[in-house]
Amino acid sequence: MSTVLEERPAAADAIQKFTATVAIRRFDPDVDDEPRWQEFQVEMLPTDRVLDALHQIKWEQDGSLTFRRSCAHGVCGSDAMRINGRNRLACKTLMKDLDISKPVYVEAIKGLPLEKDLVVDMEPFFASYREVQPFLQASSKPDKERLQSAEQRARFDDTTKCILCAACTSSCPVFWTDGQYFGPAAIVNAHRFIFDSRDEASSVRLDILNDKEGVWRCRTTFNCTEACPRGIQVTQAIAEVKAAVLRGHA
């Protein structure tokens, strides 16, 4: 069997290099009182991502540039940052998709304590996550798997995709105000269990989120949904949790 495939030079397509300017908001608390902007020139290929630009700067120009990264393809959640004013993963944002006639502005995510350059303290973020009891609570001890229909499984599929990158929470204007709001990521992870047919503790989680700093603080600004690199319908999930709190059950 043989289907004729069109020759399509994809990766090697137009290996045209271009230069771009990257402005990075630098901060080293040991030296700086205030964060400061610094501009770098990078030489990019069409397949290069913002992460490649940052690497090029770190590896060839200024080794002290600091950021987190690991998987480099959008699955580990290390490198959420603000690129041209919006939260994204550096490893999922192609340079060629940005307007490179102007500098590409890169800065740390907002609302969490800035540690150095693009690195923030993630602890408050994870503290909120831990508070919603993000683990299955089921009393029965079956000797095989618990059964779950495909529909029941589909009910919470969207929110299982979360990689805890904090792009959502740190894009939320309510979270920026005082950092006390649970934030969309914690609610997403609560949602993942509240609507899991195997779980028995949804009412506990609904109770936790029916709090001063819980779901009611969400002002449906949709920044979280726009920012989520996993395409999770975050605001939708929050709305479903609100509805569940009002109903009193999942």
Partner: protein, 604 residues
Amino acid sequence: MTNIPDSATAPTVTKDGVHYHQHDIVIVGAGGAGMRAAIQAGAGASTAVISKLYPTRSHTGAAQGGMAAALANVEEDNWEWHTFDTVKGGDYLVDQDAAEILAKEAITAVLELENMGLPFNRTPEGKIDQRRFGGHTSEHGKAPVRRACYAADRTGHMILQTLFQNCVKLGINFFNEFYVLDLIMVEVDGQKRPAGVVAYELSTGELHVFQGKAVIFATGGFGKIYKTTSNAHTLTGDGVGIIWRKGLPLEDMEFFQFHPTGLAGLGILLSEAARGEGAILRNSEGERFMERYAPTIKDLAPRDIVARCMRTEIREGRGAGPNKDYLYLDITHLSPEVIDAKLPDITEFARTYLGVEPYTEPVPVLPTAHYAMGGIPTNVKAEVLSDNTTVVPGLYAAGECACVSVHGSNRLGTNSLLDINVFGKRAGDNAVEYVKTAEFVPLPDDSATFVQGLIQQVRTATGTERIATLRRELQESMDDNAQVFRTEETLLAVTEKIQELRERFLNISVQDKGKRFNTDLLEAIELGFLLDLAEVVVYSALSRQESRGGHFREDFPKRDDEKWLVHTMAYLTGDAHSADAGDHIKLSTKPVVITNYQPMERKY
């Protein structure tokens, strides 16, 4: 919620700027293997998990396709067939006792994960659904079998999340962004035993010594010795490197798996699940070339075979693209609904990174460095060995950094997620048993001295070489010379390169001299590990004059069971910096455990 001894209150003292912690069990690495061990360990003893990344950033989360277990939920299957496939897939270099444990315990491992909350895809009856995967067959190779349990194409993500969730539930103590840089070994009654580990805290630059009765290594792979790899930037083999520097052996290092379908040019993985769901590899002529090489299971042949066939197609001029240097993975015949339901993530990778629409266009792919079959030798109890048989009491290893060896010379897809769960659990259980009776090994006064020196040396180095340049040269040379096909000539070329890089490594400098989040400094240290490990890989590969599984010597294209049906054991014996690897690496062999399956020719 917390039902373990609260080790947050375990003694911490600070002396000379070094922080000392004490826990019964110290786990290094918070990937799948580390956290599976932690769940066992945390329930029975005071446990600390030290990880250079936040646990959920570990590369287990990148695994896509599935986790094998002969549940027989969708068709007839049993663990014995699974054992056979594992042995055959590994080209008979698998220790069969271990493979049997792997296949048998697979079933409980999957059910346990389900019970912990893992949202597997379901069959119409509500049971865990299963899919096909390369090399997994029924009745000893008759036909592909549906054995891989999965959660869309993010099985590893769901495993990592589920394990982390259960660690949160148990209140496990994590030390995140702590880089373990040394293992403290002390001689007690004439026997070397672990006393603890030394870690560098990324946020402050301070050193911490973790004293433990038992130490479990679960630091994952070292794919970053290659340039084109599916592995994360952080997979630099620190754990394996630390063990190596302690003079403990490494097993089967020449066997590195190249996964057939990495995105061309980038190495980002497109799971074998794609082929499990029906995707087809094609050359520039549109031909389904795997039909020629493996008539029975075609595109679902084991990875080593497919990767070699792909390289052969390209060499023979049937590669696609302007430079005829890649092939196609074609899923255009699958309906968009099936693709969206079963392969959503990997199709998105193709869209995002190559701008290719997999619904309608074939995706350019190339083999990518993927998995280290070799590593720290352990027995089936996950205890680390200091030679072919001697156990190091209290030292355990599990996951990709370990070599049990259940993967032999080539790992089957979905067997690694299984490995981390089965042997991660065993490591945890056995460590708990061990600490019940063991005492702490007293820490020597100079516990942190070595690491202090290492850091001082790198921080103050004023050479002229850039870390990134050296690393790139190493990776490129490894890609060119120690990839799918190797010959003595190419291996010697890369040996020379490594020697040169070792020299130049003495003349490096780091620009960041600060203490906080000094990733510049750590990249230098990581490069040190990469150089060490690349050298062992190449040296072991040079010595193995045969072709088997992931190791294909064009100058010795045949498998040679007479001479080489043995594991390679490599030891660091002299000064690692001496120019000639032969001066400081000693190789020996270890017999393969064969129980039921005598080696046969491997045909698919």
